[in-house]
C-alpha cells in the first residue's frame, strides 16, 4: 500500500516513538547486563507507571484488522463492488426495470441501440436486463456454495485435525471417496433427478462435492498450528478446547482456507454455468449468467456482445471476491502491517 492517504501519518508517528522506546529498552538491558541490578531498575518503573496510566485502550487482532481494512483501497473497491452486486441481486429492477423474459426475435443478435446499451442476444432479449437480472442466480450460487463449502469443510477439517483419532481417519477416507467423483458426471447423475428449477439443488450439489477440498486444507493447517508451542502454552494455562481452537488455532489456520475459498467461488459460478449448459442446472425460463454465456457461445463470432457482457460481469464478481479474500487474509496477519 504505497499510496496511503495522509490519515496514515499519525500512525507513522506512533511507530516512531515506539522505535525510540525499543532503543531505551536496549540501553536498560545493557546496563543490567553490566551488573548493576539496583540502579536503572529502581528508577525505571516509576517513570513507566506514570505513562502506563495514559495508555490507550487495548487492541486485538480483529480490531486491528478492521482498522487496517478500512484504509486498504483494494478492500474498499472490492467491498463496494460486492455490495453493489448484492443490491442488484436483491432488487434488479432498481437499475433494469425491463423484463428479462420479454424478447423480440426480430432484433436477435442486434448491437447496442438506444435504451438497450448492451444490445440483444440470440433470442432478441435485452442483454443489459438479462445481465442485471442474472446476478441473482449467479451471486446466490457463488456465495451460498462457497459459504457452505467453507463452513462445512473448515469445521469438519478443523475438528478432525485437532482431535485426530478414528473420526479423523474416517473423514479423511470419506474425502478420498468424494474426490473420486467426477464433477460433471456426478452433476448429470444427481441433478437430472431433481425437478426444482431453483438454485438450491445446484448449491447443495456443489457443497456436497466441494467440501473435501477445504476439509483437506483446513485439516492440514490446523495440524500445523496445533503443534506450535503457543498452543502448548495455552494448554499449560488450562485453556479449554474451544478457546484453543477459536483463539489460537483458527486465526492462524484460516489464511489458506480464505484464499482457496475465494478462488473456488469463481469456479462455482462457472460450474453453475456448465451445469446449466448441460441442462441440469437452472433451466431456461430462469435467468443466470451461466445460461446466457452458454446460450451466446455458439454465435460468438456474430454477436460477441451477447457473450462478453455476462462473462465480464462474472469475471468482475470473481475478481472482487478474490481481492476481498486477499485483503482480509493480509489484514489478519500482523506481520504484514
Amino acid at each position: 500500500m504505497p499510496e496511503q492517504p495522509p490519515p496514515h501519518e499519525p500512525e507513522r508517528a506512533v511507530a516512531g516513538t515506539g522505535m525510540g522506546g525499543a532503543m531505551d529498552l536496549g540501553a536498560r538491558e545493557a546496563s543490567t547486563l553490566e551488573g548493576a541490578p539496583g540502579g536503572p531498575e529502581s528508577t525505571g518503573p516509576v517513570a513507566l507507571r506514570s505513562s502506563a496510566a495514559s495508555g490507550g485502550r487495548a487492541r486485538s487482532l480483529w480490531s486491528d484488522a478492521w482498522r487496517d481494512l478500512r484504509r486498504n483501497p483494494v478492500f474498499l473497491v472490492s467491498a463496494l463492488v460486492i455490495c453493489f452486486l448484492v443490491v442488484i441481486a436483491i432488487r434488479p429492477s432498481l437499475i433494469a426495470p425491463g423484463n428479462p423474459l420479454t424478447c423480440d426475435l426480430a432484433r436477435a443478435q442486434d448491437g447496442p441501440a438506444p435504451g438497450h446499451p448492451f444490445g440483444f442476444d440470440g433470442q432478441g432479449c435485452d442483454v443489459y436486463t438479462r445481465t442485471v437480472h442474472g446476478a441473482r442466480a449467479s451471486v446466490t450460487v457463488g456465495v451460498c456454495a462457497t459459504l457452505g463449502v467453507a463452513l462445512l469443510g473448515s469445521v469438519l477439517g478443523g475438528l478432525a485435525g485437532y482431535f485426530g483419532g478414528a473420526s479423523d481417519a474416517l473423514l479423511s477416507r470419506a474425502t478420498d471417496i468424494f474426490f473420486a467423483i467426477p464433477v460433471v458426471l456426478g452433476g448429470l447423475v444427481l441433478l437430472s433427478v431433481v425437478t426444482s428449477n431453483t438454485v438450491w439443488p445446484v448449491v447443495g450439489f456443489i457443497v456436497l462435492l466441494g467440501w473435501p477440498q477445504i476439509f483437506r486444507i483446513a485439516r492440514g493447517s490446523v495440524i500445523a498450528a496445533k503443534q506450535q508451542d503457543y498452543v502448548q502454552a495455552a494448554r499449560a494455562l488450562g485453556a479449554s478446547h474451544s478457546r484453543i481452537l477459536l483463539r489460537h488455532i483458527a486465526p492462524n489456520a484460516v489464511a489458506p482456507v480464505i484464499v482457496v475459498a475465494t478462488i473456488a467461488l469463481g469456479t462455482y459460478i462457472a460450474l453453475e454455468a456448465t451445469l446449466s449448459y448441460l441442462g441440469v442446472g437452472l433451466k431456461p425460463p430462469s435467468v443466470s449468467w451461466g445460461i446466457d454465456i452458454s446460450a451466446a457461445s455458439p454465435y460468438v463470432r456474430n454477436a460477441p456482445h451477447a457473450l462478453l457482457w455476462p462473462a465480464g460481469a462474472l469475471a468482475i464478481t470473481v475478481l472482487a471476491f478474490i481481492m476481498l479474500g486477499d485483503a482480509v487474509r493480509d489484514a489478519l496477519d500482523p506481520r504484514l502491517r
Binding site: G56, A58, Q232, A234, G238, R247, P251
Partner: protein, 355 residues
C-alpha cells in the same frame, strides 16, 4: 528451605510406535522417559542436563501436564497430579507454569502482547477482576523489563530476548509456585542468554519461585541451579548439588559430559584430558539391558549388562563424607577430576562462575 514442593517418583513416558492406517498395531515403543525420580524443594532451582533426545523435554511436558505419563507419580504438595482432570487439573495448572524453548513459536503471532499476557486471567478469571487485568498486564511487562506501552504490539515486533521475556511474563501471570523452563535460553544468543538468566534469578527471589531448569548447556545450568540432575536415555544417572556434580562427578557419563565443556584458559585446556565416548546414543526404542550407559562406557563389565544400577549413593562411598557422596547410578562409581581446578582467587567460587 528443604520443604519439598514437587516429588517425582518413577516417572515413565512411553510413546507407542504404531503401524497401519485405520487399524493400528503397536510394533514397539519409544521409551522417552523411563523411570525418573527427583524432588524439588521450595525456592530451589533444579537443573536437568543431558544430550538431545534424552527425555528432558518430555519430563518438562509431563510436569506441566501437557503429556500424561505412562506410569509414575508427580506429587505437588503431596497430591498426585498425573491423573487429575477438569477443575482440579485447572487449579494445579495455576501453580505450575512453563517457559518454552523457542520464543519464536511460543507466542501466538496473531495476538497482541497484552492479549498474550492477559490470557491467563481470562482462563482463570478468579485471579484478577476484569477491571484490574489491564493494569496487571502492564505491571508484568514492567517486571520482566519491557515497556508497558508495548501492550498493543505483536510478537514479531520484538527481538528473541524480548519475546522470551514476554513468555516469562505469561508464565508468571498466575503467580505460580513452580516454573518449568524447557531450554529457555538455548534459542538466544549468548549476551541475551545472560540477561534472561539474570532476569529469571531476580524473579525467583521476587516471586519465591521454584524452578525446574532444563538445558543442554552445562555452564548455563551451573550458573542458575542449586542442584543438578544429569539425564541419559530417559533416566537420571547422577544428581547432586552444583559442587557435587561439577567438581566431584562420580558417574562416567557426567565425567564425559563435563570433559567436553570448553575451557577458557588455554593452559588449563592443555592439562585437562577429554573423555571421548565411542559410538552413538542407543535408540530409545531399544534400550540396552542393565546399565543403559554400558554400551559407551569404558568401565563396563559383565555386571553392568545384568544389573540395573540404582540411583543411590554408591556402595563404595557408604562410609565417606564429602562432596563425592551423592546419588549416582553406577556400579563402579569413582571420583575423577575432569574440570581443571579453578584458580582459587580472593573472590571465591561464585564470582568466577562462567556463564
Amino acid at each position: 528451605m528443604a520443604e519439598p514442593i514437587l516429588e517425582v517418583r518413577g516417572l515413565v513416558k512411553h510413546y507407542p510406535l504404531t503401524r497401519g492406517v485405520l487399524f493400528k498395531k503397536q510394533i514397539g515403543e519409544v521409551r522417552a522417559v523411563d523411570g525418573v525420580d527427583f524432588t524439588l524443594d521450595r525456592g530451589e532451582t533444579l537443573g536437568i542436563v543431558g544430550e538431545s533426545g534424552c527425555g528432558k523435554s518430555t519430563v518438562a511436558k509431563t510436569l506441566c501436564n501437557l503429556e500424561r505419563p505412562t506410569a509414575g507419580e508427580i506429587r505437588y504438595r503431596g497430591e498426585d497430579i498425573t491423573r487429575l482432570s477438569g477443575k482440579a487439573l485447572k487449579a494445579v495448572r495455576r501453580n505450575i507454569q512453563m517457559v518454552f524453548q523457542d520464543p519464536y513459536t511460543s507466542l501466538n503471532p496473531r495476538m497482541t502482547v497484552g492479549d498474550i499476557i492477559g490470557e491467563p486471567y481470562e482462563i482463570h478469571p478468579e485471579v484478577a477482576p476484569k477491571g484490574d487485568r489491564h493494569r496487571k498486564v502492564r505491571e508484568l511487562l514492567d517486571v520482566v523489563g519491557l515497556d508497558p506501552e508495548y501492550v498493543n504490539r505483536y510478537p514479531h515486533q520484538f527481538s528473541g530476548g524480548q519475546r522470551q521475556r514476554i513468555g516469562i511474563a505469561r508464565a508468571l501471570a498466575l503467580r505460580p509456585e513452580i516454573v518449568v523452563a524447557d531450554e529457555p535460553v538455548s534459542a538466544l544468543d549468548v549476551s541475551v542468554q545472560a540477561q534472561v538468566i539474570n532476569l529469571m534469578e531476580r524473579l525467583q527471589t521476587e516471586f519465591e519461585l521454584s524452578y525446574v531448569f532444563i538445558a543442554h548447556d552445562l555452564s548455563v545450568v551451573r550458573h542458575i541451579s542449586d542442584r543438578v540432575g544429569v539425564m541419559y536415555l530417559g533416566r537420571i544417572v547422577e544428581i547432586g548439588t552444583d559442587e557435587q556434580i561439577y567438581e566431584h562427578p562420580t558417574h562416567p557419563y557426567t565425567q564425559a559430559l563435563l570433559s567436553a565443556v570448553p575451557v577458557p584458559d588455554p593452559d588449563a585446556r592443555e592439562r585437562r584430558e577429554r573423555i571421548i565416548l565411542s559410538g552413538d546414543v542407543p535408540s530409545p526404542t531399544d534400550i540396552p539391558s542393565g546399565c543403559r550407559f554400558r554400551t559407551r562406557c569404558w568401565k563396563a563389565r559383565e555386571r553392568c549388562a545384568l544389573e540395573v544400577p540404582p540411583l543411590a549413593v554408591p556402595a563404595e562411598f557408604r562410609y565417606d563424607t564429602g562432596p563425592q557422596v551423592h546419588d549416582s547410578a553406577c556400579h563402579f562409581a569413582a571420583e575423577r577430576q575432569v574440570v581443571p581446578p579453578r584458580e582459587r582467587d580472593a573472590g571465591g567460587d561464585s564470582s568466577t562462575r562462567a556463564h
